[in-house]
Symmetry: C2
Amino acid sequence: MNDKKASQSELAGIGRRKFLNTAALAGLTVGVAACNDKPAASAAPSAAAPAAAPAAHAASEVGKYEVAPGQLDEYYSFSSGGHSGECRIYGLPSGRLFKRIPVFNMDCLVGWGVTNESKKILGTKPDGSLKYHTGDTHHIHPSYKDGTYDGRYMFVNDKIHGRLARIRMDTMETDKIVELPLVQGFHGTFPDKRDPVDPAINYTTRVFCGGEFAIPLDNNGKNMDATADYRSIFSCVDAESMEVRWQVLVDGNCDLVASSYDGKLACTNQYNTENGVHYEDMMSAEMDACLFFNIARIEEAVKAGKFKTYGGSKVPVVDGTKAGNPDPKTSLVCYVPVGKNPHGVNASPDGKYYACSGKLSPTATLIEHDLVLKWFDGDLKDAREAVVAEPEIGLGPLHTGFDGRGNAYTTLFLDSQIVKWNVEAAIKSYKGDKTAQPVVDRLDVMYQPGHGFTSMGETKDADGKYFLSDNKFSKDRFLPVGPLHPETAQLIDISGDKMKLVADHAVYSEPHDSIIVPRNLVRTRQVYDIDEFPNAVKDAKDCRVERKGKKVTVYLTSQAPTFGLREWTVKRGDEVTIILTNLDKVEDLTHGLAIPKYDINFIVNPQETKSVTFIADKPGVYWAYCTNFCHALHLEMRSRMLVEA
Amino acid sequence: MNDKKASQSELAGIGRRKFLNTAALAGLTVGVAACNDKPAASAAPSAAAPAAAPAAHAASEVGKYEVAPGQLDEYYSFSSGGHSGECRIYGLPSGRLFKRIPVFNMDCLVGWGVTNESKKILGTKPDGSLKYHTGDTHHIHPSYKDGTYDGRYMFVNDKIHGRLARIRMDTMETDKIVELPLVQGFHGTFPDKRDPVDPAINYTTRVFCGGEFAIPLDNNGKNMDATADYRSIFSCVDAESMEVRWQVLVDGNCDLVASSYDGKLACTNQYNTENGVHYEDMMSAEMDACLFFNIARIEEAVKAGKFKTYGGSKVPVVDGTKAGNPDPKTSLVCYVPVGKNPHGVNASPDGKYYACSGKLSPTATLIEHDLVLKWFDGDLKDAREAVVAEPEIGLGPLHTGFDGRGNAYTTLFLDSQIVKWNVEAAIKSYKGDKTAQPVVDRLDVMYQPGHGFTSMGETKDADGKYFLSDNKFSKDRFLPVGPLHPETAQLIDISGDKMKLVADHAVYSEPHDSIIVPRNLVRTRQVYDIDEFPNAVKDAKDCRVERKGKKVTVYLTSQAPTFGLREWTVKRGDEVTIILTNLDKVEDLTHGLAIPKYDINFIVNPQETKSVTFIADKPGVYWAYCTNFCHALHLEMRSRMLVEA
């Protein structure tokens, strides 16, 4: 409606939105699937007769956001993959998918879940099989230094099994995974940006983890009816050791997580402060909360032994419930009331504010950092006084990005829009200035946006160039591919006064959150250091078979276009370990090793070493072959594993 | 060199190519990794200072191949995923990835390898766990009718474990998998296009499968030294039942597969006709072969009982070796000699020719269909007389696509080029016409192309619009993402006289082969039919828990934003089966079900039913939640599974 060139469909959207704004809010909370109305009404896509949707950007701008052959993208986007269990690296503005990073999922291409090294990171059962094959990555955030990304690590959660993973940013591979005790439904995560006490530590040393589902603290199947005793847990993991440092018992269900720029606070928005176990109970209260954790006080409490442990876990758990913290001056946690069932909390790049979205309230709540600190000092009567603005922005507000120029951009799930609102105008309006107009622009997206984020918007270097809207429904935006549609990542240029939709990128389900990082902040290695691998086979001459009883080790190298052994012989029933080092040093010259019927499949990058262990339970000739096209004689790159009967 | 605007890097490439053309061929065959020279020489990519590569298409064409927001692609591309074990659906020209189709891999997002239904298709061990977790898809081809795609099925191979999978094209999901007996390294596959005998059957009823690795026919670990007795097997699978109809024992190693337009012949190019087990033996002969199978004769032989069975398999195996087929008039197989270690055979859209590439010979061999039939009639002295052209086209020729206008486009792995050559000119030149110039254009690609294919080029409707070059090395073409680079799928406009590079698409490793299909040939369903699932829970009122001894069945429905049961109770040690039907009918309204610590994760599309079975071995409260963002109250869509101690 702010764009005079608005198409018919956009105008139709306005009518619908106005209706919802005035009439549908009450219905929503009793479960009317309002968000289904629009998709249902849109015509089913037909490949033969595609929708003649107009290009969203004017003819003069055609090609402006195109990345021509041979050109490089300006930005990386690192994205979670939802219940695919992985993470992904895209280029922007092109939307090219550069890499999938296997995290909690199996990826037989790289051998994730196949090799000994990856199994050790993923965790195994006593019989050596993987403990879990599934995961649900929602939020991915890199480590910080001086308030911006330092290119060391990225951290990502697994909602299903309550795990936190770390990805090395030099190799873009997962290197550690920890399972959080007492946690089910680990949702939001965020690293800290500096130490709350030691000014020399101006970089990430902690990662905060919001536990969503409340369960009995001793979840042993004997106390399941005492639902009032169910609790959620907020956790702190050491960024280096990846061990859980401490946990906090809270009221309500943690959702998203953010951290302050001064290191003093972590926060999480909460729905179901009612502690309900049924749907309608989770929505009965008119207000929920945004919780702020006083990191220094929590760590003092742990140091002073003021904690308990539960259910066999040795991790100290402090009491962060309201009942356990009656006095702000000693409280570990500050509960700031916000609109109903919020989904999303984001810190502004200047470090001053947190925007917490309403979801079932058409508002975003703006909380001032200094006022929260004031509450902890006992200088505020009520935590609600930390709220400095609460603009009405539209239906189903979820996540907010900032442009570094004083504007916030919030996804509106129900309205299928991005709303741009001005922070200072919102504060003025909240103070009673009726001339202040917080909302400055709206843009329709297709359809139902979940997460949205700005380029560098989670750092002090927010550059206000792009906003990416990860939409949950693509419907008619792409050629149909059966019942499972892709989602849309819509790229929006936010550098001007008006938001401009510049690209529809199709994405495999289901990115929840991402970050956009300029290319100069990422420094990867293209070739491994052979000395990093203690078991490396450093010379083709070292290839051999060693036997100790029934345990056989095959030392193997790859160098295009041959493996270091033409054949190796083992006996049926042997426990065989193959250690493979790729001696090729040329960038991009990756080899693979697959063994038919033995379910072995993995790659080795230049100068990398990987290993697999298996029982040689099938006698016969098995051709171990290179899977990763490496050379004109790639097909001929194969060796025989001979398993004697 | 054909383009006056050739950049410096292109010019450098010419120098290198000329050198290779004149000097490096001999060296190649003794294992000099000539293909590594170019990548090694190129500078390592630096994200901070990207290569200032010029856009390949002129400024006037900027945006011509862009698919603006709201616009739909013209073509689908269906692509294999190599050792990722999956297939993929892209849009062209945009390069957008619409869908991953899990085939031989696990995909925890959709529950492939998790649900009972997918486990049944994938195959399990006696303990119920998956038989294989890995696969290596190389070639994907749809079913035919009247010489073009009919939109029913796609077939794709697994090289590792010797399996053929079928994908339904209405839902784009894998529905059957068969493991071929006696086969290791199942490489090429192609459906037939009509029946060789019955003219009424003008559609696909057979799928041909080329077995690559030669192994002992009884692979029992007792005869492994008798390498001269190792054999490869060519198989025929019934397209409907997906059972193996018959197999053929052959000399040499089958590689790619093609089928004739009249249904009479299937063919496979062969390397290692020497039957060597060592690298240098596989390359000792100057010529290898392209094999043609006489389908009608083979099926008569099977009918007449002229077959054997091996190694416990009941599939009839006929003898297709040279020794077993001395007389062309009764021969089942015709061995046409072609250049050294060929890689690739493709039928021309007019049904007249097969192009078989040299790989270690700088030639493509053109074989005439009618002449092969003549050989089978005893009317050719020598099978080599079926060759009608053998143009010298460049170094490392692999795969050929056709434009339907009489031109062929072959990938040159070593030259990093696509070469366009004219079929009639090649035939004239072969006949001695020195004025005939087969090669009409060359285009550098980045780098080392493997497969290349034209839009509809494997059908009689080849439209000559696009060629896609799936390159094995991307090097400096994209932002660096660590040691594992993406590959490049470069889109080339072939509609004019000169090839034009129009887009660099990044692809996750490792597409081997793909097809390009206009959107009007694909007709998918967006919503399932609930009646297709015999175990569907058709009404939320039918949700319940049924117990028979220790076997418990949970009947469950999903309808945004709730599951049909708020909680269900089982006992520790129960074998629990959850059957979940998604009652939502709205297109794109998919739900998911994940259960923490129980490693359960899958989605249900609108009106679909899926199930999982597990042992309830962990007591306590477990929140089963919806993983697929479905509604504003998606987070609240969760139910409790109570496992009594």
